[in-house]
């Protein structure tokens, strides 16, 4: 893999404001679904509605309900699970297992949160250009960051 590769995405041209929604591939076992996810630097975890977890064949029956706090302090009931996130462009493919909150409301907009995307990529919002760049961090950058966080 080359160093400092950047995946560049345009904002979704919604009216009146373009939004940072990017296309990703989600995988659970052998089921795949492409989803436009709102890149949300304010969310710790990614969140998908239960309708998407069902489409991916995720069995959430036995998972424990937990609460997450939304904007305004309103608790939301979610179930915590894991799936694979695939970012792909041409020959470049990044795949990572991500923790995901499953919102029991089937119609919420899917969110792409910080963990672990922001540990693997420098995420740059170029609002003036309606563009998001995901710059893959190389090992030495990750090491620098780890050292800094230990200080």
């Amino acid at each position: 893999m080359r160093d400092h590769m950047v995946l560049s995405y345009s904002y979704f041209p919604s009216k009146p404001l373009p939004r940072p929604i990017i296309p990703v591939r989600l995988r659970h076992n052998d089921k795949l679904l492409d989803v436009g996810m709102l890149l949300d630097s304010g969310s710790d975890f990614s969140m998908i509605p239960v309708s998407i977890s069902e489409a991916l064949g995720m069995n959430i029956e036995g998972l424990k309900k937990t609460k997450t706090i939304g904007i305004g302090g309103i608790p939301i009931e979610v179930k915590m699970s894991e799936l694979d996130l695939i970012l792909k462009r041409g020959r470049e493919e990044y795949e990572m297992s991500i923790p995901v909150q499953i919102n029991l409301n089937p119609d919420v907009i899917p969110l792409l949160g910080r963990i672990p995307l922001f540990d693997e990529f420098d995420v740059i919002f170029r609002q003036w250009k309606n563009q998001i760049n995901l710059k893959r961090m190389v090992e030495k950058d990750k090491e620098k960051r780890r050292k800094r966080s230990r200080k």
Binding site: V6, S10, S14, P23, V35, K88, P106, D107, I109
Partner: protein, 74 residues
């Protein structure tokens, strides 16, 4: 720093097509895009995926919830 170039994936082609499409009337609803064609809009995902599977059994659909005009706080 090198920008990623190369052939667009199925996911990106569908999303790229969708960003150019006329989405008026789709706000707040789900749409599915398969092979450059839009299914929906619909208030629920399930019917869209069912139709996508029926019409394009070997393709992976892209689903998007089209944002509304109101300001969004996630």
């Amino acid at each position: 720093m090198a920008m990623v170039e190369g052939e667009l994936t199925e996911t990106e082609k569908n999303f790229g097509w969708f960003t150019q499409a006329n989405i008026k009337g789709c706000e707040g609803q789900w749409v599915a895009i398969v092979d450059g064609k839009m299914l929906g809009p619909n208030k629920k995902i399930e019917p869209l995926l069912k139709e996508a599977k029926k019409r394009y059994p070997n393709k992976v659909p892209l689903v998007v919830k089209v944002p509304t005009e109101e300001p969004l706080v996630a």
